[in-house]
Symmetry: C2
Subunit: 236 residues, 2 copies
Amino acid sequence: MSSIHPAIVAQHSSAPLPQPWLERAWSAGSAPRSEDLIELIRSSGQTARLERDEMLFCEGDDGEALYVILSGTVRCCKVLADGRRQIIGFYQAGDLLGLSLGDVYFYSAEAVTPVRLRRLGRVQLETMMDERPQLRRRLFSIAAGELAAAQNQMLLLGRKTARERICTFLLGRAGSDGAVELPMSRTDIADYLGLTIETVSRTLSQLRSAGLVRMSGLSSLELTDPDRLSDMAEAA
Amino acid sequence: MSSIHPAIVAQHSSAPLPQPWLERAWSAGSAPRSEDLIELIRSSGQTARLERDEMLFCEGDDGEALYVILSGTVRCCKVLADGRRQIIGFYQAGDLLGLSLGDVYFYSAEAVTPVRLRRLGRVQLETMMDERPQLRRRLFSIAAGELAAAQNQMLLLGRKTARERICTFLLGRAGSDGAVELPMSRTDIADYLGLTIETVSRTLSQLRSAGLVRMSGLSSLELTDPDRLSDMAEAA
DNA sequence: CGCATCTTTGAGACTGCTCAATACAGGTGG
DNA sequence: CCACCTGTATTGAGCAGTCTCAAAGATGCG
């Protein structure tokens, strides 16, 4: 049950920081996430890298560090004894991982794509939090956003139809131009939305037939009618 | 994967504070929730009361206060345009409400039973947090627990069968003696577990026929075989 | 005691799942 | 560069668990 630990490579780079996933999923969000926090952690942590499908940490491991993703996509998941899996969320550049710094991590984190990230030890983090009220508030606010996202997902999983789930998912990942990148597999999408891969695939095909999305390759598509899609996301 | 052991729970001198829901749902929890925080808020807030079904705050309202429940049960829920409802959680004496102090509340809070609670303004809370590192850590830890509970619920809603959901729910609410109090209606339970009232009712009847629970009235039952129930909670 | 509400039980329908076959994409070697 | 091969995605047919609709049985309140 211990995680494979990635090589820690002391290395700096200043890649662009795309909008974090949370910002979009959390429409009622408080202040826009400032980059200072991320900069701070980036500058005080160590860099790590993950291969595709490599595990960053495992459910049950000691929660010893907070991570900032510099590039790539990470999935966090919980698994039942018989293998059924629920993906808690996908995280991308600018997002924080392992925020629930209890004694242990409550979920496993794995790389969907190759990932670069920075690691900040728990002690170091707590020191920083004690010293900087502003950082503290920001982290609290990010945790609140995470909670709000989780609750939205509970609504989706508990009460939405397959089509609504897919539409919600696509809208949540769409850029302002309607482009959607899906670096994760259909299986990952299914496990995130509480469906099977077949249902995901079928539903996407339906949306395509209905002229709501245009698909260009397996991992990228375009929303051609976001308004209608938006209606479909919340009402059958 | 067997039984849950709510071992702890020492006797408290004054008001009997039932174990907060979080403690039980969050098996991997950090330090047991100390009462000092609750005492602190209790002593600095104003008391409020709610009638049955009365609303404390509504999704979208300004998140101006944190509440501690003194007695009674509260449900927090999110609702879709067409009325479908998802209950995010049930909260009881000792639990905190409105922790996600963003600008607005992300869900509505309503009284399941008559409720007494204490209210602490946001400004007041932030002052207290700045002054007391320990309080701060505790609140952060509680928020983390809330997040963990939400993620467990995502697993339940996304991947568990009706029977598994009911079993998980019952185990989560059982005292050490196997007694379960259900102050909420079947509709509330259904909306919490992502089911319909009929399915809830049928499943409870099945468990009773199978000799796993004994029902004494609508709102209270007893787990007669927690181990078997526990198996059922995670595997069909 | 009577009424309104909630719960339980039943029968049938439907969404999404399972199992199975085909199609596609990406990488490998000739 | 193309044929091959493996893993993933799509499509199809049938099934099952849960939902819907409906009625009867409890419960609680005035």
